[in-house]
């Protein structure tokens, strides 16, 4: 067990820190859930890519830096430390990217990964349907082969930034006589294909970037099929494990929030405002949990770099970070007292920062990427071996 960074790792940290200090926009970008903010974030991604930091652990040939997972962790620490913008193409770079690297053809890798890394093409995910949420295998949208095209019909929903994205990836039923996990094909779909209608849905945060997507005889070339026909479920699950969870929510994000929460607590106490006594303990617990998440991730990275694999353990992770995120923001709102209901900009609010926005965002965590109830089933059945029936 060695918990010291090597000289090379320290040097990489320094280099990343210097680049971020020089390049992170001094003014906060508009929310990437607005059209204006979406484009601002794409501009940032372009800059990040030009600097060589857009996809730290990806191979150089696909627009990455070719670094290992540990260096990626270091980069993430510096990224959050610098207060850099959220990643607008996270569904592409963190979820789809690794899948393409795993199962894509050489042509697909060359076609999709570099443009994904630079956010020239931003991706939305198309997993959920009105009747396939937690019960993902109940997918009903069809993609029927007609010559060298799939003809897609049906509906996808809850596509984050689907209102502005250029592409969508998802599973479709390519064998109309199939049921459940069989007969599904993983397909990459250009959202400007005729026959596709994207309808924005307003979220709790008052923004309309979320979308439902309707397919009406939309024709998509067969070369956009990812993995084998009819094996979409396996393709989706193969990388549904840790790398996704790891990349989507790196620990520095929560350590940064925990640090801000500690500062908020100290400021509130110093201001003389009433602070409920139990919050002292809750804030300390939040900080400690963010540390636990970081430590656990470093252990997982060591395990992966040592040739290990991660499967259902990702469910333990997902529950932990999503509930921690909610708890941290709830606690911050308690510290803010009456100001917690005021939108930033109201004169009586003072500097309430992004806690309310963060809270609304955090509330989605236990729902997306598989509800925490589903994750608890997975832990009980696949890790602990409790009976399914």
């Amino acid at each position: 067990m060695d918990l010291k960074y090597t000289a090379e790792q320290e040097a990489f940290r320094k280099e990343a820190r210097a680049w971020l200090e020089a390049n992170v926009p001094s003014e906060k970008l508009a929310s990437f859930d607005t059209k204006e903010g979406f484009e601002q974030h794409r501009e940032w991604e372009k800059k990040l890519q030009a600097g060589g930091y857009a996809m730290v652990p990806w191979p150089v040939e696909y627009g990455g830096r070719g670094a290992n997972l540990l260096e990626w962790l270091i980069f993430e620490e510096e990224y959050y430390r610098a207060g850099a913008p959220a990643r607008v193409n996270q569904n592409g770079i963190f979820l789809l990217g690794p899948t393409i690297m795993d199962v894509g053809t050489p042509e697909q890798k060359a076609r999709f990964l570099p443009k994904m890394a630079s956010s020239e093409e931003v991706w939305a995910q198309g997993w959920s349907e009105p009747n396939a949420g937690s019960d993902m295998a109940n997918i009903q949208a069809t993609a029927i082969k007609d010559g060298d095209h799939f003809v897609i019909n049906g509906q996808k929903t809850w596509a984050s930034r689907g209102a502005f994205a250029h592409w969508l990836f998802g599973m479709f039923r390519s064998d109309p006589d199939s049921t459940r996990h069989k007969g599904l094909t993983f397909i990459l779909v250009p959202l400007d294909t005729p026959g596709i209608t994207v309808r924005p849905i307003e979220k709790l945060n008052n923004k309309k970037a979320f979308a439902e997507v309707f397919f009406d005889d939309a024709r998509v070339p067969v070369e956009y099929q990812l993995g084998e026909e009819g094996k979409g479920w396996d393709v989706a699950m193969a990388t549904a494990g840790f790398e996704r969870g790891l990349m989507l929510r790196s620990p520095a994000r929560f350590q940064d929030t925990a640090r801000k929460l500690v500062e908020l607590y100290k400021e509130t106490v110093a201001s003389g405002a009433y602070v409920a006594p139990e919050l002292r303990r809750t804030v300390a617990q939040c900080w400690m949990d963010a540390e636990a998440y970081a430590l656990n991730t470093y252990q997982t990275v060591a395990h992966l770099m040592g040739g290990g694999k991660i499967g259902a353990e990702a469910s333990v992770n997902k529950i932990f970070w999503s509930e921690l995120d909610t708890k941290m923001h709830e606690t911050a709102l308690k510290l803010l007292g009456h100001r917690a209901e005021l939108l930033p900009g109201s004169s009586a609010a003072g500097d309430v920062g992004e806690w309310l926005d963060g809270y609304i965002f955090a509330l989605a965590g236990p729902i997306y990427a598989g509800t925490n109830e589903i994750q608890r089933n997975i832990i009980a059945e696949r890790i602990l071996g409790m009976p399914r029936k």
């Binding site: 540990l70 620490e77 500690v262 400690m288 636990a292 970081a294 832990i379 009980a380 409790m386």
Partner: protein, 352 residues
């Protein structure tokens, strides 16, 4: 940077696990409840044969010269087996204290005996008036005023106190401080005492992980067998989700405990805070394991006959040893809010 154990360390853990699975069965643990001392010199001798008491003792004194990173995995197994022999005070706390106290004569006298399994040492905890293992100890490390003393058992007045956990042997101890028994005073005594507390708390936290794992296993086994409404009760989500929650708490506590072992072994500046986080998280995981296990075992778990309470009681009493959760929570809070002990955010450490 490589946050994981070596294969040798895992092998040591497996060796101890196998040994305890054979020698420290639940029947043995419960059998000890009925004996006069509750302690078995024969068992201790066999534990010494595999090197456990002398794990942290330098080789020159007959020990294995290992560190807390090795010991922490051994203590997980001690917790899993529900073993209550004085491994914590003797091997995890007293041995390094005698090693580090700067008194060569004392180290030369006691360390070889501890490593050979011929001496038990009890250590007073700054957070409690109760001294575990005082009755079976040959030597006691006790605090009086600003001094720390190494007191032979014959010179101490020991009053046994009955614990709610029959595995736990507690006593209050009085003694008349003798200058020649003083091993440190003032800041040196404080330093040794804080190091002892951190080591004791780490050893407890590791046992809490082991106890928690055992409680999860018993709950999984029982709920997979027990049928109601024609199906195993473990197939109900209301049951599954409770057990899954213990698993989540356990895995994140484990990260804290393993990091704290490294912090103690290398005496890093954030050592005390890291240990407190380990003790809090492992303590809470074990307590959650205890209450959930009891619930999913139903009335059967509420009987004296069922073995569940062997580990439930370990979870309760380990939580109180070497600083109860509330004490460690306050030490952590002081570090974060008032700049008490130094705390550092792993990897992240933002600029001030």
């Amino acid at each position: 940077m490589e946050f994981r154990f070596t294969e040798d360390q895992r092998l040591l853990q497996e060796t101890v696990r196998d040994f305890l699975a054979g020698e420290c069965t639940v029947d043995f643990v419960r059998g000890q409840w009925e004996t006069e001392t509750g302690r078995s010199p024969e068992f201790w001798a066999s534990l010494a044969e595999i090197g456990v008491p002398g794990l942290l003792i330098p080789e020159e004194h007959g020990g294995l010269g290992m560190t807390e990173i090795d010991l922490v995995l051994v203590m997980v197994e001690v917790g899993r087996a529900g073993l209550a022999e004085p491994v914590t005070p003797t091997a995890a706390v007293a041995a390094p204290l005698l090693r580090d106290c700067g008194n060569d004569a004392l180290a030369k006298e006691w360390l070889p005996k501890i490593a050979a399994g011929e001496a038990i040492v009890a250590v007073a905890q700054p957070t409690s008036p109760l001294v575990p293992e005082a009755e079976c100890a040959d030597l006691l490390i006790l605090r009086s005023g600003d001094g720390l003393y190494a007191v032979p058992a014959a010179d101490a007045r020991i009053t046994p106190q009955k614990s709610n956990d029959p595995s736990q042997k507690l006593a209050t101890v009085e003694f008349d401080p003798q200058p020649e028994q003083r091993i440190a005073s003032g800041a040196d005594a404080d330093r040794l005492e804080t190091a002892a507390l951190d080591r004791g708390a780490l050893a407890c936290a590791a046992q809490q992980l082991g106890a928690c794992e055992q409680l999860i296993q018993m709950s999984v086994d029982y709920t997979s067998e027990r049928k109601q409404f024609g199906v195993p009760i473990g197939s109900f989500q209301a049951v599954k989700h409770q057990v899954a929650d213990i698993k989540v708490a356990l895995e994140y506590a484990r990260s804290h405990v393993e990091r704290a072992a490294h912090s103690v072994a290398h005496d890093v500046p954030s050592r005390s805070v890291d240990v407190s986080m380990a003790k809090i998280s492992a303590g809470e995981a074990a307590l959650q394991g205890a209450s959930t296990s009891l619930q999913v075992h139903g009335a059967l778990g509420y009987t004296w006959e069922q073995d569940l309470h062997v580990w439930m009681r370990r979870a309760w009493t380990l939580d109180l040893a070497w600083g109860e959760t509330a004490w460690h929570r306050e030490r952590l809070a002081e570090a974060l809010f008032e700049g008490g002990s130094p705390a550092s955010s792993f990897g992240f450490e933002p600029a001030a």
